[in-house]
């Protein structure tokens, strides 16, 4: 099943996130018909005055659209970082949180919730601590003046467990009436508060990270041969690993700081990509982004419509993704593993 023989897939994959974002504009508690949606989108894009009712404009343009766009960006960022880390660490069981970015961000958010009770601080702390966690993992791995892959993983494990302990400590100390539930919900992940300002602020690190990974994608193939072979193939392993880690961390931290911790996407979406298009990172890296984007938009649509209250994303990603993954596993016979 070679990718080059199936150019149709690439077209479907590129179109899918856009189509899915448009479909999510239709879905929701407040019914809006399709003509109104097209009318509102058309007016807004062409900057013409709009004669649809204000409530429709708010629902479509200010609530559903930013949420779907942010969902696509978050899902894509988590999946592309996961795919990059799997290649870099030569381990298909690695996810975007391997170097501690998720637990670091979780602790940062918990700290901000306890100290400041305000959303902006949560973003900044989550982002900052997420980056800090990865820097710590990297420094721990440098005890030998080099960064062997196994030491990086070990550093990530250490840093993750320290920050997980600190998250527990924060929960223990938090006010059980309002702070504790806020921390717990944040840790389960949600896109409910999505606004355009989030897309812009968190979008910058996500776009920089994603763009960097797409640019360096073929090198990840070479890095996945292991340090010694990558060196003999002519690659500055330290520098190239650094670039991949920096980009994946920026993308993940940007995603996590607005959405909370959403598991599964960074681990399993790349595998779905491997089954569909193979393991060549030249194709797999961008495809992971597209698949992650589609997946999270779908899951978020389910999460906000299935019941009266929103279901946190971190719960649904696995519940929806699990059976789908098993189906694909059966259909593609494991994709060559």
């Amino acid at each position: 099943m070679s990718f080059t023989k199936r150019p149709g897939i690439i077209f479907i994959l590129i179109a899918a996130p856009v189509i899915m974002i448009l479909i999510s504009l239709l879905i929701g508690r407040y019914p809006v018909d399709i003509e109104t949606i097209i009318h509102i989108l058309w007016c807004r894009i062409t900057m013409q005055p709009c004669n649809a009712e204000d409530i429709y404009q708010t629902v479509v343009w200010d609530i559903r659209l930013p949420r779907a766009v942010l969902g696509a960006m978050v899902g894509g960022s988590l999946a592309i970082s996961g795919a990059a880390f799997q290649g870099l660490f030569r381990n298909p069981l690695v996810s975007s949180g391997i170097l501690g970015v998720s637990s670091g961000a979780g602790f940062g958010a918990a700290l901000a919730i306890i100290l400041f009770h305000q959303v902006a601080a949560t973003y900044i702390f989550a982002f900052g601590f997420g980056i800090l966690a990865v820097i710590l993992s990297y420094l721990i791995s440098r005890v030998y003046n080099a960064t062997p892959t196994i030491m990086l993983v070990l550093g990530g494990v250490i840093v993750s467990s320290v920050f997980s302990a600190l998250i527990s400590l924060a929960k223990y100390l938090a006010d059980p009436m309002d702070e504790l539930p806020a921390i717990v919900f944040w840790l389960m992940g949600s896109l409910a508060s999505a606004r355009y300002s989030d897309i812009i602020t968190a979008g910058i690190p996500m776009l920089i990270g994603t763009a960097g990974l797409i640019l360096i994608r073929w090198r990840i193939n070479v890095l996945s041969m292991g340090d010694r072979e990558a060196h003999t193939l002519g690659i500055n392993t330290g520098l190239n690993k650094g670039i991949v880690i920096a980009c994946a961390t920026l993308a993940t931290a940007g995603a996590v700081c607005v959405s909370g911790i959403i598991g599964w996407v960074g681990l399993v979406i790349p595998h779905i990509g491997r089954m569909l298009v193979g393991n060549d990172n030249k194709i797999l890296i961008p495809v992971s982004f597209l698949l992650g984007a589609v997946f999270l938009v779908i899951v978020d649509d389910i999460g906000r419509n299935l019941t009266g209250a929103e279901i946190p994303l971190g719960i649904l990603t696995a519940l929806v993704g699990g059976p789908f993954f098993v189906y694909l596993l059966k259909k593609t016979k494991g994709g060559g593993w």
Partner: protein
């Protein structure tokens, strides 16, 4: 004859253990240079130093007259390619994708392989007779096929020197010979040089029997014990010193007029 590599009094130490002690030799164009020696004598460490992966603690290595120290990985990779002893397969990449990685040193950091690179990779696969398997996941190949793919990757690197670390380890009787024949053809047709570590003295004789310029270095206790043409240095006496075994060397001519010289192991010596 041009010397591709000059190893000048190279020593290497791990904390508390001397691994290489003033090793000295040169590799010339168009020759096979074999490193022989028991397990743990420092062969792989020596290869790692030459590849620029480990830094010698004393002495230096010259590539075409330039010091290896401080040379970028990219520059080294245009000079020599490497066929590893054990290649850990993690992802089921296609055979062609693996060979394409040999082109990395010719491509910018943010580039993907061009049509030209793909052509070079396919030519390399063709040279080792593996072109028909280019669309297969390389995890599904046999040990011998996998090793030929690694040789093709080294060829795609288009270097004057290929370094092989026990290229026939784990291979069956026939594929061992296939690899050796491939090496002979490469040297005869492309004037490549090969530096290989091996555990099998007969490999050196095989190359010599095939009429290609061959030298062997016998490494014992971290130093070179003997260096020269196989028929000069691979004797019953040196084999005894190197491996502590009794051997018998035979020579005969085959029906086709080919000369055959081989070392036969007899028994281990206790002392």
């Amino acid at each position: 004859m041009n010397s591709l590599i000059e190893v000048q009094e190279v020593s290497f130490k791990y904390p508390g253990a001397l691994v290489l002690d003033k090793i000295e030799f040169t590799i010339n164009q168009g020759e096979v240079f074999c490193l022989l020696g028991p397990n743990g004598c420092g062969k792989t460490t020596l290869l790692d130093c030459i590849l620029g992966w480990l830094k010698p603690c004393a002495g230096q290595i010259m590539l075409n007259g330039n010091a290896l120290t401080g040379m970028s990985a990219r520059k080294i990779a245009k000079h020599m390619a490497y066929v590893p002893q054990i290649h850990e397969k993690t992802f089921p990449y296609l055979v062609r994708d693996i060979v394409l990685m040999g082109r990395a040193s010719y491509m910018g950091t943010f580039k993907v392989p061009s049509a030209e690179d793909i052509k070079i990779a396919e030519n390399a696969l063709d040279t080792v007779g593996m072109l028909k398997l280019k669309e297969r996941p390389y995890t599904q190949l046999s040990g011998g096929e996998g090793q030929l793919v690694m040789v093709a990757r080294a060829l795609a690197q288009n270097t004057p020197l290929i370094i092989m670390d026990e290229p026939t380890a784990h291979l069956d009787y026939k594929h061992e010979l296939v690899i050796l024949e491939t090496i002979v053809e490469l040297i005869k047709n492309s004037r490549l040089s090969v530096l290989m570590a091996t555990h099998i003295p007969n490999h050196c004789y095989y190359f010599e029997n095939q009429g290609i310029s061959t030298r062997a270095a016998l490494i014992k206790d971290h130093r070179i014990m003997a260096l020269g043409k196989p028929s000069e240095v691979l004797t019953e006496q040196t084999m005894g010193e190197l491996y502590n075994i009794k051997t018998h060397i035979i020579e005969c001519s085959l029906d086709e007029g080919e000369q055959l010289k081989q070392v036969l192991p007899v028994r281990t010596l206790n002392n």
